[in-house]
Amino acid sequence: MGFLFWKKKDKETPATAVEVVAELNSEPEPGIVVETSVSLADIESEPEPQPIVEPEKVEVSLPKRTFAKGIKSLFTRVKFDPENLDELEDVLIQADFGVDASEQIVVEVKARAKKSGASTEAELKAVLTDLITENLTRDDQELNLSSGQLPYVVLVVGVNGVGKTTTIGKLAKYLSEAGSKVVIAAADTFRAAAVEQIATWAERSGATLVRPKSEGQDPASVAFEGTEVAIAQNADVLIIDTAGRLQNKVDLMNELDKIRRVVEKNCVIAEVLLVIDATTGQNGMVQAKAFAEVAKVTGVALTKLDGTAKGGIVYAIQRELGIPVKLVGVGEGIADFAFFEASEFARGLVS
């Protein structure tokens, strides 16, 4: 999969106010060579005069990542029965599509089958696959990293433990490998050792980390510093990690709003990714609504698809709230992620 990318010609523009991860006791995982990690030496080296250049459109093409290994068929436990389409509703409910969406899908499958005369297992499965694919396909499924307004700021939000930090690590690695300069702001200043955790990922991915000066520092100030550093370093992407928060906690949700406002003083926010754990049930919809309202979510990252959960709630989220799924997490390793593709998801589910 490739995506369009605006990049400036020159890359390394040194900055001054960066805290670097080098002081951490954790070492990079064996086997992962951190090539582009910013070191103190890089930062302190003499700045080159900054040439003023027009952004040049560069297409970055990367090997396609499949998440096929991550998604498991709906029909492992219950066999698909072409004679009994009502059973399909149960199967979809068990994949967390929710009662309403499941009912609607079955009604639609029946209607289409009637029209096309599909009746065999293979035909009906094709109808179902097409239907899910169509209903989940959108033209804004790719990460919005092509507006030309650098740095592209990606704000990552979600409830506790869904995989925000891990997803950031994976994404940072991917973007670094594609030749982008990535800065990560560790704005989860709340959870114990959260900064150390993202620091490990920054190190693994070769991104520069902006960390809080003190424990419990206002996350908005860390995010703001992130923008300063990203601009000063001429970074392509700034990813902001945030603390997990439950959507019914008003104060914590307001904190996100503050982070947004502060970041927007310096940058345009390109993406607000809501991370949803594939095991999440119907509360996922409540999460999406709340985060969309406060944080203006632009995309969903669906994690932990390597488990037995199917993540069906994203179907309703995308259909009802119009928020596209953009990324998929399929494991704890740095390479275990992919860009969401509706047809792959549908084929995986229905296979």
């Binding site: 068990q94 433990g161 114990a192 050792a193 594939a278 999440t280 119907q282 488990g307 959960a309 709630i313």
Partner: protein
């Protein structure tokens, strides 16, 4: 959208105001809505199906409750059954007889194990235990650091010989931890393990090895209350793969309805021991099945109405009874009627506790056998009306006749008469001092709308409560009664 269960039931029962025997149609209409509510609360589909069948069977067989209409009665049965499944196995933490108590935590990634480990340690420490935390999650980046911070905050020692981030063997660390705890005389060892997927054979077998190495008194399965249908698969995988002794439900301070609690209880039969309710170290409490049932059903207002209707009914009956007692008219017939009523109301203990002075009877109530009511009924039915009103006349031959007639023994008849006399005496004493209390708030009412009810909901309840309290006493009584259809209240719309 469809609104919550309360709204939909109101819709379903708009035209139904009759009281009487539960018809199959009434039951099915209610159960259809309840099925949907349970699914929307993320109870696993198979669990919902079994549950609905069980409720239908019970509802069809149940006696008619005079205080409630059919819909209410079905809802009450649903609630009772939910509480029974969620709390049927309820128990406290098991401690080792000798040596340190070992608690192993296991669960999916991100379920909240490390945070919980800290809370558990703090809680145990506050109870005078000396816990040690063991950093056996050597997988997730900086999980070891996190546990160290958490331990420091809790003021508890952390055993962390390995740096983690993929380095070190968790089985070895766990084994060493036990030796360490024994040597240093820690009373509880809490082993934090890496998050793992149920289908990850390698990691599941590692979990088994940790279990073997530490021989835990408890293996607590930690599960996020936001989890959906997959809860059953995950719970089964951990039960089969590691073997669990209890469950901890986390992130209950969110607004997920938490149907997973029911799924996990049903599938594993293991008790839910704790609820984790926030990020702070003290946000941790024992699990309350009744609150969870309410939360899953999301119909606190209807259940409150049901309770009020029932309570009001009970109060009226109790007042009648008290009057009889005061006038010395309390007879074996009344005694029987009271027992039958109590049996019908389901939870004997809670309801008996509402009677003034019943607190002292608590121990006896613990041993109360509901079949006893049937035997009591048989015995009393075998008496002549005269005997029922004047138990004093019951001599040996009368007692023998009654025993034969009721298929019981003389000993049982004797015991009943004794119990009756005791009860009459006790109630008379209580009635003298306790009468004025009858109209007011009954003691022992279960605490409702507690910590599990999400913010918006409890606000709604507060408003309702305030509304009721501000009215004049007669109006309030009528409101509480819920039996008389009032205009405009949420009760009347439901056909109560």
């Amino acid at each position: 959208m469809f609104g919550n269960l309360s709204d939909r039931l109101v819709e379903t029962f708009k035209n139904l105001r009759t009281k009487g025997k539960l018809s199959a149609a009434d039951i099915d209409a209610t159960l259809r809505e309840i099925r949907r509510a349970l699914l929307e609360a993320d109870v696993a589909l198979d669990v919902v199906k079994n549950f609905i069948n069980a409720v239908r069977d019970r509802a069809l067989g149940d006696e008619v409750n005079k205080a409630l209409n059919p819909a209410q009665q079905v809802v009450q049965i649903v609630n009772d059954e939910l509480v029974a499944i969620l709390g049927g196995q309820q128990r406290k933490l098991t401690f080792a007889k000798t040596g340190p108590t070992v608690i192993m935590l296991a669960g999916l990634q991100g379920s909240g194990k490390t945070t919980l480990a800290g809370k558990l340690a703090k809680w145990l420490k506050d109870q005078g235990q000396t816990p040690v935390l063991v950093a056996a999650d050597l997988q997730r980046p900086n999980a070891v650091n996190q546990l160290q911070v958490v331990g420091e905050r809790a003021g508890v020692e952390v055993f962390a010989p390995e740096p983690g981030n993929g380095k070190g063997d968790p089985v070895k660390v766990s084994k060493e931890a036990i030796k360490f705890a024994q040597k240093k005389q820690f009373s509880v060892v809490i082993v934090d393990t890496a998050g793992r997927l149920g289908i990850d054979e390698e990691l599941m077998s590692q979990a088994r090895d940790i279990r073997k190495a530490v021989d835990p008194d408890e293996v607590l399965f930690v599960i996020d209350s936001m989890i959906g249908q997959d809860a059953v698969n995950v719970a089964k995988a951990f039960e089969d793969g590691v073997g669990i002794t209890g469950v901890v439900l986390t992130k209950l301070d969110g607004d997920a309805r938490g149907g997973a609690a029911l799924s996990v209880s049903s599938v594993t039969g293991k008790p839910i021991i704790f609820a984790s309710t926030g990020e702070g170290l003290d946000a941790f409490e024992p699990f309350y099945p009744d609150r969870m049932a309410r939360r899953i059903l999301d119909m606190g207002d209807i259940l409150t109405l049901i309770e009020q209707a029932q309570k009001q009914f009970d109060e009226v009956e109790a007042a009648k009874m008290a009057e009889k007692i005061a006038k010395n008219e309390f007879t074996l017939e009344d005694f029987l009627e009271q027992m039958q009523q109590l049996k019908k109301m389901g939870s004997m203990k809670d309801l008996l506790a509402k009677l003034p002075g019943a607190g002292q009877m608590k121990n006896q109530l613990e041993n109360f056998d509901e079949k006893e009511v049937d035997r009591t009924e048989a015995i009393i039915r075998s008496m002549t009306p005269g005997e029922r009103h004047q138990p004093k006349v019951l001599n040996g031959s009368r007692r023998l006749r009654i025993a034969k007639g009721s298929g019981t023994t003389v000993t049982e008849v004797n015991s009943l008469v004794n119990r009756f006399e005791q009860a009459a005496k006790m109630m008379k004493t209580v009635a003298k001092g306790g009468m004025p209390q009858l109209g007011g708030q009954m003691p022992g009412m279960p605490n409702i709308g507690g910590g599990y009810v999400a913010g918006s909901k409890s606000k709604k309840n507060d408003k309702k409560k305030k509304g009721s309290k501000s009215g004049n006493p007669a109006k309030r009584a009528a409101e509480n009664l819920g039996v008389t259809p009032t205009q405009g209240g949420s009760g009347s719309a439901f056909g109560l």
